[in-house]
């Protein structure tokens, strides 16, 4: 594959075609497609930061010949030499794009929780669900498709107190998400399963990402962590897992290429960093104070903030911040062969650095405690009593040994 890629002449001219060039909006490009022999990757949702980053990264891979970015709006960032086709995946035009560029790999990243620019929840839902249906319909009609990668979310598991502590890929959710992005993701996955049944020759990979964080995260959860004072649900300390943006890009690339030796990259995989953080730990590491509110009040505050437009505090988000969610990443490691480079805690630290200090920075609190510890009252007394402490320590250990 790599050799083929190097032989190809259109690499030069293609690199001039960028998002800002005049070619977008013109799906009927005139480049000689007969010359293209390597992989052609179509990526949806490239107007978002993550989609843009993924396109810029995957175009550098040697086995990839051509990357076509698709979105309904023109991206503000450059796409590193990829072709941008302005097409709405909710329209049947997408089938023409697929056929015209001889696409063999589709990476569907346009399953998101927040609207891009104008438009509300209705537009998001339509892009998620109708867009996926159209895209899958187009893929089904396109014989050249070899591989489909879908970005999903661990929110398909829902969050309920009756759930097991750790979800595996096969755990059935106790309570299906009733609305919002989580429900979209459930429906999208349902359509993808149907597609996989109808086109068994296509390798389908569904990646269920835990909460994606990183320096340029723009999810509702990132907005929540940016609030100066974080409202929390009184009496609950949810367990959260994060995955770093860099790992998202890497695992999407892994899924879009041929599987490496002894791994399998078709199927459904949970993607999350190692370890777990409690919400209380998150707030302390961010240095943002929390206001515990009773559950009904949280719902009320959430809807109030949503009306004002400060944060997208959907009911599903509130459930996550009440009961938390932890997924097992054994399949990701053993079957997919992916090891994330950031743990949950490291991802969060990277995110916290990008957001600046909160009202109660942890360093300041630590310094205060240190000052108390170093205060003359404490040090003098500890210093005076240190020999006694040591002496007594040995005695007690010995006497414990021989206590019985």
């Amino acid at each position: 594959m790599a050799a083929k890629g190097r032989k190809l002449p259109p690499r030069g001219p293609r690199s001039h075609v960028s998002a800002t060039s005049t070619r977008y909006g013109d799906p009927y490009g005139t480049e000689g497609k007969a010359l293209i022999l390597g992989k052609v990757v179509l990526v949806t949702g490239v107007a978002r930061t993550l989609g843009g980053r993924f396109v810029r990264r995957i175009i550098r891979d040697p086995e990839v010949d051509r990357v076509i970015g698709v979105d309904a709006v023109t991206p503000e960032h450059h796409l590193g030499g990829a072709d941008f086709v302005r097409a709405d995946i909710r329209q049947p035009t997408i089938a023409k794009v697929l056929a015209q560029y001889d696409v063999d790999t589709v990476v569907h990243m346009d399953v998101t929780g927040t609207p891009l620019g104008a438009g509300g929840r209705a537009v998001v839902k339509e892009t998620n669900v109708i867009g996926t249906m159209q895209l899958l319909g187009a893929c089904q009609k396109c014989p050249g498709i070899k591989r489909l990668v879908v970005k999903s979310s661990t929110s398909v598991y829902g969050s309920a107190p009756r759930d097991p502590a750790v979800f595996t890929e096969t755990t059935p959710p106790k309570s299906l998400p009733s609305g919002g992005f989580a429900k979209d993701a459930v429906e999208v996955e349902g359509y993808v399963r149907g597609f996989a049944r109808r086109r068994p020759d296509v390798a389908v990979c569904v990646l269920r990402f835990a909460n994606i964080l990183g320096p340029c995260a723009d999810s509702p959860l990132a907005d929540y962590f940016s609030l100066p004072v974080m409202p929390t649900v009184f009496g609950y300390d949810p367990r959260l897992q994060f995955v770093h943006e860099d790992d998202v890009i890497d695992v999407l690339r892994l899924a879009a290429h041929e599987p490496r030796r002894a791994t399998l990259n078709s199927g459904t995989f949970n993607i999350a960093g190692d370890g777990v953080l409690l919400l209380s730990q998150c707030s302390r590491r961010l240095g943002r104070p929390t206001v515990p509110l009773l559950l009904p009040a949280v719902t009320w505050v959430g809807s109030a903030l949503r009306t004002v437009g400060m944060t997208d505090f959907s009911p599903e988000q509130i459930r996550l911040l009440t009961h938390g969610r932890v997924v097992s990443t054994v399949q990701m490691r053993e079957t997919l062969g992916f090891t994330p480079s950031y743990t949950t805690a490291e991802t969060f630290a990277d995110f916290a650095r990008s957001r600046g200090p909160g009202l109660l920075p942890p360093e300041a609190l630590a310094a205060t405690v240190d000052r108390i510890a170093a205060s003359p009252l404490v040090t003098r007394r500890t210093a005076a009593s240190r020999p006694t402490v040591a002496g007594r320590g040995t005695h007690t250990t010995q006497s414990t040994q021989s206590a019985e």
Partner: protein, 348 residues
């Protein structure tokens, strides 16, 4: 003075040590709950040196002079380091939300007075919990409020020579209640479901389960110490799949802490709880009625029942499951009766 103290202490130990009778004075051992039943036989050399060591340690606890001050300082320094980690969020929890540091430093210390001085829990057979690898501790459940689970956790935490932590499986109601669910998760409890139990056991944890569930804890006082049905025996197949031994555990004393004379079923249904206890004191005296009676407890861990000899498909064999469930149940019931016969009184 020191000699005078050493001799009765040693004497008492030699008398009570071998048969390990049930009348171990809670005051005699001092506030340190060493490992009363740990089979650590001291070397001869150490034994001869013992009086001298007792000499040294006894005044430290008896004459509370400078030693207490220094201990206090040490604890202050430790406490400040702990505080520093807590306020900066610099501590670890596992995937179940178990906060080891908080459990060791705070939660266990909060339960210890109840364990040591209020219920005066006597622990027997702690060596039946293996020092490493998974084990499933199966216990009887009683007492209207699940204090028996918590006391069992403290018993393992404070007495096991290898410092093992008991991870309890709790009912879903625990994880629906605010505050309670948070504390339960931090103390290492998780939902009683096969997935969680298996995950913990394969990680090599000691898991505690009370298969009677609400039937056991909410049974009327008249049925005390009569084991209820053991669920559907799911715990046996989980232990079998993980290949870990089952340690039967009998708890005596928890039945009498809240003698449940009646059950206000309508009120329970209204509140969404499985039962609403009516004890001689509870709803009538208000919050004061929620104070448990200071009964004397005994927790006995029995001989482990190995499960690693069965073939992998045995977990699917219902007959074997029923037989093993019955075996565990019988053993717990038998030990309960034995402990009840030995018990002198409910309160002493």
């Amino acid at each position: 003075m020191a000699d005078a103290k050493v001799i009765p202490f040693d004497d008492d130990r030699s008398r009570a040590g071998a048969p390990r009778s049930s009348r171990r004075r809670p005051g005699a051992g001092g506030r340190r709950k060493g490992d009363p039943v740990a089979p650590v036989s001291p070397l001869p050399g150490q034994q001869s040196a013992e009086p001298a060591l007792q000499d040294a340690s006894q005044p430290a606890t008896g004459a509370q002079g400078p030693a207490v001050g220094s201990g206090w300082e040490k604890r202050l320094a430790g406490g400040l380091a702990f505080l520093r980690r807590r306020v900066t969020g610099d501590y670890e929890v596992d995937e179940f939300g178990y906060d080891k540091e908080l459990t060791d430093q705070v939660l266990m210390s909060l339960l210890r007075p109840l364990y040591d001085t209020y219920f005066r829990v006597e622990v027997k057979g702690i060596e039946n919990i293996p020092s490493k690898g998974g084990a499933l501790v199966v216990a009887n459940h009683s007492g209207t409020l699940p204090l028996d689970g918590l006391m069992m956790q403290v018993a393992v935490h404070d007495n096991h020579p290898a410092g093992r932590h008991l991870r309890l499986l709790a009912a879903d109601l625990v994880f629906m209640l605010p505050v309670v669910n948070e504390l339960a998760r931090k103390a290492g409890h998780t939902l009683a479901c096969a997935e969680d139990a298996e995950r913990l056991l394969t990680r090599g944890e000691v898991v505690g389960v009370m298969p009677e569930g609400f039937k056991g804890i909410g049974k009327p006082f008249s049925e005390r110490y009569k084991l209820q049905r053991f669920g559907r025996g799911g715990f046996v197949s989980t232990a079998l799949r993980a290949g870990v031994p089952i340690v039967p555990c009998s708890i005596v004393g928890a039945e009498e802490i809240y003698p449940m004379l009646g059950n206000a079923k309508t009120l329970a249904r209204l509140l969404g709880v499985p039962y609403f206890p009516l004890t001689p004191t509870f709803p009538w005296l208000g919050p004061l009625g929620a104070v448990p009676l200071p009964t004397k407890w005994t927790i006995q861990f029995g001989e482990p029942i190995p499960t690693d000899g069965y073939p992998p498909e045995a977990a699917e064999d219902p007959m074997l499951m029923f037989n093993l469930t019955d075996q565990v149940r019988e053993q717990i019931q038998h030990t309960l009766y034995k402990l009840l016969v030995q018990r002198r009184s409910v309160f002493f």
